[in-house]
């Protein structure tokens, strides 16, 4: 069952690759958690939203902008887009059954996927990311600059968000709106706009995840579907209502899946995805709150 050849150097490389994967999962999982905390629903369109904004980045770069010039523009578009989506199609259904919200997000996913096909065509294309693919020597282990870059960008983003939530008035209001709607209204917080802001933030997180992963996966309309499943697994593992859980879950899953895929011969590359599904199933059945979650999950 286990693969024979093992070197510490390769193990370190696998860990590095796992951390990089985990960073991407964590970003998208954090987006899912932010929306789940405020809207109680899972946004099945998170992946397509991320891919869509990545396509916008691609178009901007095709029109002469460098990646880092396009980056803030894409984030701004993603932010506004997320807010717009919440205010137009989520707001009418957000007080109804969760399943309705889910199906609306599914409709959104279909719409965005088709739209990407119409505007940019199906099939994949290369995406020139901001980091070079050469490797540098880290303590005797060759690690790709791109992996480091992705992890650093994700880390900075998550840190900024954490600071925002903890130390700003708006961040506090966002947290309050997600925790206790009525009390938030009583102190004058406009809960509706807080929800919209959350969707905007989630869209930004998704955009970053998409732009980080596109150089590796090649950009096509279906690029994020598989990552979305990994993000679901990371969010469930960490606890659907826990931002810390999303980050920790993402990293654990990224490293775990990479190691299992490399060292458990039966799984290999092919069965990594079913392993992620297994994680979701096991966590939801055995410990539905995940590692850090707190919300009560209704059992039959």
């Amino acid at each position: 069952m286990l693969v024979a050849a093992f070197t510490w150097t390769e193990f370190a490389q696998q860990i590095a690759a796992g951390v990089r994967q985990g960073a991407v999962f964590a970003g998208l999982a954090l987006a899912l958690v932010i929306i789940y905390r405020s809207t109680r629903a899972i946004n099945f369109a998170q992946g397509e939203m991320a891919t869509f904004t990545t396509f916008i980045c691609w178009s901007l770069m095709n029109n002469g902008l460098s990646f880092w010039a396009a980056f803030p523009i894409v984030l701004a578009i993603a932010f506004v887009g997320g807010i717009a989506i919440e205010r137009t199609i989520i707001r009418p259904v957000e007080n109804g059954p969760v399943i309705t919200i889910v199906i609306v997000t599914l409709g959104l996913a279909l719409l965005l996927n088709g739209l990407m096909s119409v505007i940019w065509g199906g099939g994949n294309r290369p995406f020139r990311g901001p980091f070079s693919t050469r490797t540098i020597d880290v303590g005797g282990v060759p690690i790709s600059v791109q992996d480091i870059g992705i992890v650093v960008v994700s880390f900075v983003l998550v840190a900024l968000l954490a600071l925002f939530f903890r130390f700003t008035k708006l961040g506090l209001a966002l947290r309050a709106a997600a925790l206790n709607r009525e009390s938030s209204e009583l102190v004058g917080v406009r809960v509706g706009w807080m929800l919209a802001f959350g969707w905007g933030l989630a869209a930004v997180l998704g955009a970053v995840a998409g732009m980080m992963v596109a150089p590796i996966l090649f950009l096509d309309p279906n690029m994020m579907q598989v990552i979305l499943l990994y993000a679901f697994a990371a969010a469930v593992l960490g606890g659907l209502d826990s931002p810390i859980g999303a980050v920790v879950g993402g990293l654990l899953l990224g490293v775990g899946i990479t190691l299992v895929g490399r060292y458990v011969g039966f799984v290999g590359d092919v069965l990594k995805l079913p392993v992620a599904l297994l994680v979701i199933l096991l966590v939801l059945v055995v410990k539905p709150n995940g590692l850090f979650g707190r919300v009560a999950v209704r059992r039959v």
């Binding site: 008035k169 506090l172 209001a173 947290r175 309050a176 925790l179 206790n180 009525e182 009390s183 938030s184 209204e185 009583l186 102190v187 004058g188 917080v189 406009r190 707190r294």
Partner: protein, 234 residues
Amino acid sequence: MSALLQLDGVEARYGPVKVLHEISLEVGRGELVAVLGANGAGKTTTLRAVSGTVRRTGDIVFDGSKLPRRPDAAARAGIAHVPEGRGTFSELSVWENLRLGAYTRRGSVKEDAQHVFEYFPRLEERKNQQAGTLSGGEQQMLALGRAMMARPKLVLLDEPSLGLAPMLVKEIFDRLERMIAQDGTAVLVVEQNAALALAHAARAYVLEVGHVVVSGPSEELRENESVRRSYLGY
């Protein structure tokens, strides 16, 4: 001088059920007014109509202007609502709860926090503790403190004595009276404990099944035996 708060023919419903029927009442500046009545009489709904957290028809005039029906409008106008059950954010710290109380105010709130800590020193001790770990009495103080952070003109207080030991209740009402005297805040308090409320309030309204059945100065209501027996339970 016109009243600070004026309700005129206000009605409210939960779905198809009408809960308030043509409620009219007044609260003057710096006045402590009580709303009394049995369970289900519509006392809590009256407060919610003022803070905009229930759908209502009819006019509410606050500080000279018509009050819009949105919940954040009431908060911005200077109305602080302490709901039944305190409404504290249990997962946030004491300090964060207070900070949220001042949400509608701009600029630094350090002074306001100091003011609150003068009234409730125990809150300063527990500044960084999670609000959910506080005792019932402390949570009530926190809820009041949060309301004070907004420097409101009117505080809506729903069942402050619920679940608290009598000594604590006395402490809270003492603070309330100090707040009214020092800051000129008006208070509209809903209480099931009619005797307690009448001991502190200037005036009171008695509700029954969504109607105002009796109103007047507290001494009058206290001395009226039939009123006491029929509506106030003592």
